[in-house]
């Protein structure tokens, strides 16, 4: 297994024949990871790639000498920076974890203690291991904050975790990991929970930190585009076995194993939606919608406006995509359409009839013809009901045929075997749950299906299959889809029309094809530029081109364009008046003060 030639220095991390086992309750031990071997040379970044359940996090944790409850390191050799991880006792491990190896977890929001200011938590490793006195530790932390391009690095340490955004917390966590100057840093999907625009800021900060601190890294992820940017070499895992190992370039361009090929293919953006239907009358027509929370103010607007004056048509038989970062109002918009969140102003027409704001006031036909598929597959299905019972209830509720044959037909529609009918949701995989979720919506024979980030929680390969299924159903059943996402690739591949939402405003509305033709709203351009490409070295190019981005505290002007504080091309006018919408030659409707020639 050794890939080092005799003259090169020994690898900093060496894993030989690692086997991890786990048991559930008092059940038998089952292997999680079997016979995994790899080396990481000093200063190198190795990516562990795999879908959920492939054992990548377990391996990363094993490097720190830790196994989750119920799991254990069964056999194999783990050497990290000259330490034999398996033979160390508890106090040696403690010192090893503080000084030699550091771990950056996925969800920084949950990793910080909400009751302590951030600085206390960042310098804690340095103090606990007596590496630096407090004063120097604080100085070092501030230097790290500066390197991470955090806003106000001198004072941000005094904040509490809830006062920082997710991207900021992730970078502060990296600072905490780096404060003891460890030789090895493990990144466990640090950007998976972040928006694309935030993700790129965090990746840039990590990249700069890697260059300046020169640590050896292990990067756990399922996103090949991130691997391309962050890692030198990659190990592809499936079901606890190594599928393939090689340099990043080699794995991305010439994958040898079928699984890797499948993974690479699923990550490549490709057009699934080949036949756009001719524009017909809108099935759902949204006009000047204002949705918000809190009691109405004197001018009739809600205290907190989430969706502001949005007009969108969803035509029969087409897919409308809505994209935007978290907090832009896309979920609120979909909830308003679904009748769960009443709107303050504006109107909706469904099939030529006005649609009441509240679900209780809608007619049974309106409720049946518009179905919501919600995001989180774990929350959408009642865990106490079998798949069959769930589907049967929908069929009987709408007075459809609820025989076993009808249930089989619905399961067929989402390509699920009938054998799953008797299962309970916790016995299904994430992709299967999402298919049952779709099946429940389809059982009602809807005309419009509202999809709220249905692929966000799924692995790349599974998500690609769900998108394929959506498009097949669109062709077979002539369904209209409303597809809300923050994934630009997915949006491009399935949608006919696209709306870009920012801070509750629709800043751009165009056909999917027009997304490739400039000019665009500055925010659309930022979204596009933030999606990592599969090309190694792309991120370095972006950093060189833009310098490191500062994401400061942004406050939109009371009147004027809400995107102004982040806009690179803002002019004085933007602060004064809200932008008007104009049509570009490509057919895109853009809400911006600048004009086509300035935005191209």
């Amino acid at each position: 297994m050794t890939r080092q030639n005799p003259t090169s220095p020994p690898p900093l991390i060496s894993v030989q024949n690692l086997c991890l086992t786990g048991r559930r309750g008092t059940g038998p031990e089952t292997p999680i990871v079997s016979n995994v071997s790899f080396d990481v040379a000093e200063g190198e970044m190795l990516a562990l790639i795999g879908e959920s359940g492939s054992g990548k996090t377990s391996i990363a944790l094993a490097l720190t000498g830790y196994a989750r409850a119920g799991c254990r390191i069964a056999q194999g050799e783990l050497r990290v920076a000259g330490h034999d991880v398996r033979t160390m006792n508890a106090s040696e491990l403690r010192s090893f974890r503080g000084k030699t190896i550091a771990y950056i977890a996925q969800n920084a929001g949950a990793a910080f203690n909400p009751a302590l200011p951030l600085m206390e938590q960042v310098i804690e490793p340095a103090l606990a291991h007596h590496i630096l006195p407090r004063k120097e530790a604080v100085e070092h932390a501030i230097a790290l904050f500066e390197m991470m391009a955090l806003p106000t690095p001198h004072t941000i340490g005094a904040r509490y975790p809830h006062e920082c955004s997710g991207g900021q917390l992730q970078r502060i966590m990296a600072a905490m990991a780096l404060i003891t100057e460890p030789e090895v840093v493990i990144f466990d999907e640090p950007t998976t929970a972040l928006d694309v625009t935030t993700q790129i800021e965090v990746l840039e900060a990590f990249r700069v930190a890697m260059r300046q601190c020169g640590f050896t890294g292990v990067y756990v992820t399922h996103d090949l585009a991130i691997v391309a940017q962050m890692a030198d070499r990659a190990v592809v895992l499936k079901n606890g076995n190594v599928q393939e190992e090689g340099t990043t370039r080699q794995i991305l361009s010439k994958p040898a194993q079928p699984y890797t090929q499948q993974l690479v293919a699923a990550s490549q953006p490709h057009l699934r939606n080949h036949d756009s239907p001719p524009l017909s009358a809108p099935l759902l027509d949204i006009k000047n919608l204002v949705v918000g929370y809190g009691p109405p103010m004197a001018n009739g607007r809600p205290t907190h406006t989430i969706v502001d004056n949005v007009s969108l048509p969803v035509c029969a038989g087409e897919t409308l995509g809505i994209i935007g970062e978290s907090g832009c109002g896309k979920s609120t918009l979909i909830r308003a359409m679904a009748g769960i969140q009443p709107w303050a102003d504006g109107s909706m027409m469904f099939d030529g009839q006005p649609l009441p704001a509240r679900i209780e006031e809608r007619t049974p036909q309106q409720r049946q013809h518009m179905q919501l598929v919600a995001q989180n597959a774990d929350l959408v299905l009642n865990p106490a009901m079998t798949v069959e019972a769930t589907l049967r209830r929908v069929l009987t509720f709408y007075n459809e045929d609820a025989s076993d044959a009808a249930i089989k037909r619905v399961l067929d529609m989402v390509r699920l075997p009938q054998a799953l009918a008797g299962r309970y949701p916790p016995q299904l995989s994430g992709g299967q749950k999402q298919r049952v979720n779709l099946a429940r919506a389809l059982a009602a024979r809807p005309r419009l299906v509202l999809c709220d980030e249905i692929t966000a929680a799924l692995d790349t390969v599974v998500a690609a299959a769900i998108l394929d299924l959506m498009m097949e159903l669109k062709r077979e059943l002539g369904l209209s889809w409303l597809f809300v996402t923050h994934d630009l690739h997915a949006l491009r591949s399935v949608c006919d029309h696209v709306a870009v939402l920012y801070a509750g405003h629709c800043v751009e509305f165009s056909t999917a094809a027009a997304l490739n033709v400039p000019p665009h709203h500055p925010y659309t351009r930022k979204l596009e530029n933030s999606v990592p490409e599969m090309q190694p070295g792309w991120l370095d190019g972006v950093i060189q081109h833009n310098g490191l981005r500062q994401s400061g505290a942004e406050r939109a002007p009371a009147t004027g364009c809400s995107y102004m504080p982040r806009c690179p091309v803002a002019v004085a006018e933007c602060a004064q008046a809200p932008p008007h919408t104009w049509q570009a030659p490509s057919g895109a409707h853009i809400a911006c003060h600048l004009h086509a020639q300035d935005l191209s």
Binding site: G339, P364, R367, P383
Partner: protein, 270 residues
Amino acid sequence: MTLTLPLRRLSPLLQVPVVITLFWLAVAFAGPFIAPCLPGEVVSSTVFAPISAQHLLGTDYLGRDVLTRLLYGTSSTVLLCAAATVLACTAGAFLGMMAALQQGMTDTLLSRFMDGVISIPSLLSGLVAVATFGSSVPVLVLAMACIYMPGSYRTCRMLALSIVQKDFILAARMRGEKTGYLVVREILPNMTGPVLTDVGLRFIYAVRLLSNLSFLGVGLQPPQTDLGSLTRENLLGLVYGAPAVIAPALAIACLTVGLNLALDGKGRRQ
């Protein structure tokens, strides 16, 4: 046959408490019929007699057969408290789920009312109820049900609140399902575990309250008896180490602990 089959499917850790619970249930129903003597009958001239072949659990402070009194006492304690608990928990659970579903005004009014009831000490409420309506079995059951409903309501409301947030409730609501369906089919099956544990707790509280009321002489009136009053009336026997006081105390412990383990295990299995 019908009993042993489901039992065998349970883990050994659960079998024991389930058997204990079934035993006490059997005693509760069959006790008065298999009792060797009459509950008020003085059968021996020795008070606080030790265990003997004639009187399996000895005699009490008046020379009555303790086993007989224990069988009768268990019956009234278990049946009365079970009735009160079932009433309290059924009402509490349904009101709690309703409040969680409706939220807004319904929730506020119900919750404040329940808070009001819960703020009065349970013994005091019991005394007031008995003083107003007199001490009888229906009054005791209803009083205990009313006293323990708010606690059950609060537990169930909290449990239901977290379930109501989930998207499958949203899906059912969007379909236009009625509140009754949501409560019975969508919410209740997802909280049976914790609710059963709660039922066990309420039952123990009810046993304690009934014993307290009996101690004060306003609970079950003689010749009726319950485990609490048996313990109290034979308190003097402690000095002699008489089974007359130990047996009912052990019975209370065994009954409550067994029931709780059984319900708790049922909850944890899910």
